[in-house]
Amino acid sequence: MSNNIRFTATIACALLLLPLVAACQPKTHHLQQQDKLPAVEALYASQQCGRSQSTPSLTWIDNAQQLETSIKQIQGTILGSKPLTLPELDFQHDIALLVEMGQRPTLGYQIALNRTDNLHITQGQAHLTLDWIQPPADAMVAQMISSPCLLLKLKRGDYTSVQIRDRQGTIKAGS
């Protein structure tokens, strides 16, 4: 490859990165508890996230490498699919959480972020309420093994761990 082509390619990549660079702001303080609560945003959800254990799990993701590894896991080995594209995360201000329900016997199980009052922080721990959906007992469901998950983005705040509860208040997973 000629230097010219290499230079052009480098410039092209740099241009792609300009929005990220422009987004850089002077270092800000982490949000304090008295500030508004950290925003929670769902990034991705699926019923097929590749977990082979039946137990739920929660993965705290605070760098880009971990995120890539998690995406690789949850996207699985689909032939012909496009790489998963997610909104950019600024790990200086955000973390990601991968919440996994564990392997389930059928479809119809999902984890969802549907409430607005879903996050509380006490004593350095964030308590996040999610919809832990399972099919009604008498529902007709597809007889395919599933492993639901939900990938979330959270603003950093005065917490160092996260606990996941369902709407009934049952603790499902913690970091």
Partner: protein
Amino acid sequence: MSGKSNSVVPRSGVICPVLKHVLLLVSLLGILSGCFDKSGDSSPKGATLSGTVSSAAGSVADSDINDPNAPYTANNTPDQAQSIPNPVMLGGYVNVAGTGYTGRSRSSGDRMDFFSISLAANQSITLNIADHTTGDLDLYLYKDDGSIDLDNPDNMSRGTGKTETLTVAEAGNYIIEVYAFNDPDNPNDGYSNYALVVGQSAQNTAAHTTGRLVLTDPFVPGEIIVRFRGDNLNSKSNQTPTTRAASLGLRAKAGANNRAMLLGLGDLQARQASFRTLGITAKQKDADPLRQFRSTDPEKQLKMDTLQVIKALRKRNDVLYAGPNYIYQAQLEPTDPYYKFQWHYPLINLPGAWDVSTGAANVIVAVIDSGVLLNHPDLLGQFSTDGGYDFIRDNAISQDGEPGIDNNPDDPGDKAAPGGRSSFHGTHVAGTIAAATSFGGGGIGVAGVAPGVKIMPLRVLGVGGGTGYDIFQAIRYAAGLSNDSGTVPAQKADVINLSLGGGPFIQEMQDLITQIRNDGMVIVAAAGNSRTSTPAYPASYDGVISVSAVDINKQLAGYSNFGSAIDVTAPGGNAARDINGDGRPDGVLSTIGDDSGNGIKLDVYSEYQGTSMAAPHMAGVVALMKSVYSNLTPATVDSLLSSGKIVQDLGTPGWDNQFGHGLIDARKAVDEAALLESPGSNPDTPFLNVSPSSLNFGNNETSLSLSMVNGDSGELTVTSVNDDATWLTVTANAVDATTQLGSYQITVDRTGLATGTYTANITIVSSANTVTVPVIQQVGGAGISTDAGYQYVLLLNADNGSSVQQWAGRAQNGNYNFQFNNVDFSAGQNYLIITGTDQNNDNIICDAGEACGAYITQIQPKTIAADDTHSGLDFTTGFNVGLQNQSLSTTAGPLRGIAIRRLPDKQTP
């Protein structure tokens, strides 16, 4: 270069995708590093990082690569052939003189690499060409009898694509040649890295794939199918096929302009004229003439010449397609590219069934499910004329934007919120039953069990599942009974597949099932995934064929229901394992969609597991039976099942509560159907069917199972089972006392064995035929005298991706002991350690075909900080020869994306 940022350089090549993303992110971090708060850190300066890079098992490097720093031993002739172990993953480089990067062989050329190897019968040799746009590499195989004749190879693969593959006909010592073809029209091309793979994966290579030109494939010697590009037609000249063929020294035998023509080679004199016209005899710039193959066998000679002409035709701008005139014989094997991953079809003896029938278009299978992606390229044209129906009444479940029920059974997905991915369960089920399948070359995606039949898509499942009422309506529609749609199909379905379950017994549903069964419809349902014997419905209704699930070893899947209602079993898969070593999970592979981005991507496939996947195997086989014997009734199917005539008996002899009457056997099923259609037409042709066809214990497995069944009807007895290795033991596990058919346990004992690779054969002799199962195992982490070549171990600044230090050197007993001194952690730096080879000497490691590794692994590279451990940083390097190199995905070509530039100053060990 030290201290500078790495270049981000898109160009051809492949790198581990995860590592690529990590490095891209590292680069991003570097650009954004000015935003970061670099707090003061009193971490020590001058730290030492050390560790050992070990070579992945079976890794071998070509001994004469372009990198002048690497050790050199010529392997340019058969006499110089480099000895390599089996199995092996070898990274190499060849180039025609004057092509490629500056380095050891740029000027003089390194056109041929020869390797000496001992091969087992039926092993595959795969050459992955790193960049086939710069180097058209070919693969030749010679039996090593001490007098190698380079003009007369025993087998050759001279395609024009990204891979060349050969299959070994018989065990013995061989010479493998990798050869750089030089296109006379593109004299600057003729170089590439490559990865040569032997025996590691049990690849079931699909014949006649695009670009493939293999001498031993069955094709008519001297005949070529050609289609010329229409835009190059000179209409004013009024060229006829005859004149057009004559202009190439060929003879037109059939066909016409603007469609495929059948052309023929002439006699020896005419062939030489054709060679001259096509430039085959042109001299290369290094005065090396293109190879002329000569054999004393006239037919073999003609086949060699045919391939030679085809390869030359493919280089011409006016040729759209050129290929052999293949001879197709029973037994039919699909040529769809992903068929080789559908282990679940040979497991039920399906290829044998396709010899009898691939399905009739007047047979309809209703798929009562989540709907189907009607525009999936593997399902277009596979639907019944009525078009199906959407019976979901609840809009919250349906989410198709069309209130209530409607006549559009297209599946809009079942994700609960945007940003996720839907299952497209019904599409997967429909694909298993009747995905479009090609038996005559080409094809897309996957194969279906009964590709000739039609699917009636009926949508009843959406977000969170569905309701019994909607399913009730769909069943009535399929049966041609009045229903809420107000319509009935012009032709009712012959088979109903229900890959769903839930809810209690309902008498009305039982009555409906009894009614439509009495009317001749066969109903197949998934037994359920709750690993319980509690009856699940609809599978447990009287009159429904309840299907449990087995894995690739014909063991009941861990999730499968069992119990008194089970009638039969079929492949449901276990996606957590890869027993056959094809690089894919052992789930059931079929059609799906991907709606995780904008819209729905349709040409997508994945492995799912469950009794949902088992049921459509049975439904497809019933459809094949119905195609052969139109008077097939549910009672007939029941009778054939209970008699054991259409199953492979598993578990307790006869019926048992795990497998029912046994594993459905498609060949037996269509044979019995043919016998019913024409009594006396189907003589018994028993044959021994052994699966898996090969066993790969790697260096971890100690016990695997082998299944031996009668592939057809008639009496068959296993008379002996022998192996030829002291470390191998074959034990009867669940075997019929009379026939000795059944399940055998194969164990290996590595005690006392030296590090290395071991092969053996298990020979099973039956009253009909003899089957040999090759076995391979490895002892120790590395093979005999193997390593991953001359490595460049780089210390990268994890914050900005720049190369900080480099260790370079050759292996000592397969290991590379590296050390980085004076590593600066004073400003809170983090580091990554990456290693790789540079066979093409472009100063960039980890290109396609080059070895690559990262601490801890490529999948999970770990940053090293001041307070982390700084010694014992051990990891593995090896050649990346996985599926990513085979480019089965729809991407047009490989991209390296990130260049990991090695440093010019190298330390020596």
